[in-house]
């Protein structure tokens, strides 16, 4: 590959290029994880089912428990164009069309002997669910019924309404922290009993140090998209980042991936490579529709619209709040405290009280408009989106588009209707630009 970066710039032939690293290494790591899942199933190796918001991979790695992330495997059924058969299997079993599509895709997977288009997932020996999404708990109860595996629910009380920021010196926060720390010690005991292995606190420190390293690189990656033109799409590459940040949390390969990704993105910037001919910088609130991932992006990209950030990259990308850092000198205490802060700033507020985070991101990532994607089967990400949109419009003059489809259900995708709304939104952004409204609003923020 040789591409001229422009007058005076280096050519790619002159350097060791990182271009293609994200795509190739992301695919390699994802393939490897699937091979491990399939091998674990074949060997009958105990596996933990976890969720992306509070996976506790730091602890599970100490016990060499491989993790299955059913949100990711469900999402992948849709990306592979196969979600409908899994959804219909679950609906045939009795699950309503109105419940979480991820749950149903996974139930379908379990009912189909855990055979996924990418491999086979092992049975759960343990399920861990946090309260960050109440559906996690109901979902884990389904596995409990199917496999009679222990379900460990980790309460992360965190945000209570009202105050947007936690007060670390308050009695309430201290109470939450004590509770979370106690529960983590309970989980360690459960893992010891389950695996027959002694807990090794130094291995916990190692895993936490790797998560710190990953979080720093993850933030570097996100920050690079402040550049104009944005070097990556929060929808297209974003899905890769979310997958690796969760499946390789606490593993050196995961940290190295994000460090390599940051290098590639810097190189893209240096070479003037944007994702496309960028005209409008967009922010996605909620998730995309994985059953129409490419089309979802195209509907904006054909107008030069690029998603430079998303709330999903925060709450489903590891919950790395801006000052995320474990203190490995006091590992369990710090894990409890940082999990709580992640629950507050990384999981809760970007979903349940998102207006401040969105307004800051619009300012810092030079966003022209926000797409609020209501997911029919996900009350967690979608319930209050119309209200947040209205709040940002009236308080900060931030334009927003509210559209609806689903996570993984292709039956919920209405192409013509969505195209009409997206076209009209982009035209309104063009109108704002013509009248200078965007610049005026940004200056006022």
């Amino acid at each position: 590959m040789s591409k001229d970066a422009g007058p005076g710039g280096p050519t790619m032939a002159e350097t060791t290029t990182r271009i293609g690293f994200i795509r190739n290494e992301g695919r390699r790591l994802m393939d490897r994880w699937w091979q491990e899942m399939t091998a674990a199933d074949a060997a009958g190796r105990p596996t933990a089912y976890v969720f992306v918001m509070g996976s506790l991979d730091e602890i599970l790695r100490v016990f060499d428990l491989p993790i299955n992330c059913p949100e990711i495997t469900s999402l992948q059924t849709a990306v592979r164009g196969r979600s409908l058969e899994y959804l219909q299997t679950a609906e045939g079993y009795g699950y309503s069309p109105d419940i979480c599509g991820y749950v149903k895709a996974d139930v379908g997977l379990q009912l189909k002997d855990r055979r996924h288009p990418n491999g086979t997932v092992p049975k759960p020996a343990l399920a861990i669910a946090t309260n960050m999404c109440n559906t996690y708990i109901k979902w884990a109860e389904i596995w409990e019924q199917m496999y009679h595996c222990p379900v460990f629910v980790l309460d992360l009380p965190a945000w209570r309404g009202g105050d947007a920021a936690p007060r670390l010196d308050s009695d309430a926060f201290r109470n939450d922290r004590r509770y979370v720390e106690g529960q983590l010690r309970d989980l360690i005991g459960l893992c010891e009993r389950l695996t027959g292995r002694r807990f090794d606190i130094d291995r916990l420190r190692e895993a936490m140090a790797e998560v710190n390293r990953m979080a720093a690189a993850y933030h570097a990656v996100l920050a690079l998209n402040r550049h104009r033109p944005a070097p990556f799409s929060a929808i297209r590459e974003g899905i890769v980042f979310q997958g690796i940040s969760n499946l390789y949390r606490g593993a050196p390969e995961g940290s190295r991936f994000f460090e390599g990704a940051a290098e590639e993105l810097r190189e893209r910037i240096h070479l003037g490579m944007g994702t496309l001919n960028e005209k409008y910088r967009l922010l996605l609130t909620g998730t995309t529709c994985y059953a129409a991932l490419k089309r979802f992006a195209e509907l904006f990209e054909e107008w030069g619209g690029v998603f430079v950030h998303s709330t999903y990259m925060v709450f489903a990308g590891g919950g790395f709040a801006s000052d995320f850092a474990y203190d490995v000198s006091r590992p369990i205490e710090s894990l409890a405290e940082t999990l709580l802060l992640s629950a507050w700033r990384g999981f809760s507020t970007p979903m349940f009280y998102a207006q401040d985070w969105l307004a800051e991101t619009v300012r810092d990532w030079s966003v022209d408009g926000i797409c609020f994607h209501g997911v029919k089967s996900c009350r967690t990400t979608s319930t209050g989106l119309p209200d947040v949109r209205e709040w940002l419009r009236t308080h900060f003059d931030i334009p927003g588009l509210f559209i609806q489809s689903d996570l993984v259900d292709p039956r919920m995708w209405s192409d013509a209707q969505l195209k009409n709304r997206i076209d009209a939104f982009i035209e309104s952004l063009a109108g704002r630009r013509a009248t200078g409204s965007n610049e005026a609003a940004n200056a006022a923020r």
């Binding site: 699950y95 309460d155 309430a172 109470n175 309970d186 349940f352 009280y353 319930t383």
Partner: protein, 389 residues
Amino acid sequence: MASAHSVDAILEDCRALVEDPGFPAVHRWLEANPGGKVLGHFQVYFPEEIPHAAGMLPVKILGAGSAVQIRKADARIAAFVCSIIRSSLELALTGRLDFLSVFVTPPICDAARNACGVWVRNLPQLNCQMLYLPQNVTSPHALPYLRDEYRRIAGVVEEAAGRPITEDALRRSVALFNENRRLLRELHRVKRETPWLLSAVEAYTLVRAGGVMPREEHNVLLREVLDLLPQRPGKRQDKIRVVFEGGYCEQPPADLLAVIQDACYIVDDDLLIGLRWLTEDVPAGGEPFANLAAAYLDGSTYSPVQHDPRKPKSEMLLRRIREAKAEAAIVAAPKMCEPGLEEQVNHIRALEGAGIPHLVMEFEEKMTVFEQMRMEVETFAESLLLDFA
């Protein structure tokens, strides 16, 4: 509410109370207690003893049924969210809850947790809080956590009420609510054992009134009803005995329950289960916050929104059916209710496994047409009567 001296008259008063979205009993209390403060709490369970001990009136906020047209809330909440979330918000946005000083919602589901953010943004004058009730209830750390979480809420309440909560006041409130729960248990016993004396709709109306009126008055009312019921004329009919499951949060319309009870005796249910969440008296002695926390964790019933490995929900439903000597179950869920619809599948499997006939239905609090359901219920009941004959 004045003593009416007949069950029918009391029921008529209660019906008027629960069907009026203007909260008349709350306004009467405020007139009688100038400067009094009101705390509203969303489903399912809230320790009402805490605001009561501070002199506040606790009021259950559980939607508006079909009494209120939802206009403003629809612009704030996504379309695929259950009705109780939007109608509760509609009550607030239309000024019907302007009497509230504090609103507390436990994050029972993903919609309720989101709704708290919507309330905070739209009702800046109102102190909106989440009470985080544990899901890891078997952890030894849950009790001290919940005790201190109750103390945190007590701090919010004290600030709103303008007065401290003493332990003695809290113990007196616990005693009052213990008595209320005892009376509710007794009411349910009467309905379970002699449903021809007290129908499910009537019992429901009496229970629901307790959520929107001072509990002292509710206790008087329940005692009077319980005294009067044995003399009430009523004749046992040949009806199938069923348990209704699915009313723990959004409430089915009373007309829907009436359709069911036209064909069956609803001998037990989980309607407004939060008002009788605690199944035993909270101890009067000792530390009251810790006692309330222990009662929540260890002396309570079940619902789809609490995870407790000691209380597998479908087994608890089978137990409820056995204890009520019911022959069948109606397994309902509100439309768009994630936990309810998911639990429904487990319940159906368990009922099939136990060979218990059941009818599955979805409802919405604001539904007004019941003919299709009437036909389904009648067909269900008739088929069972023929089977059992």
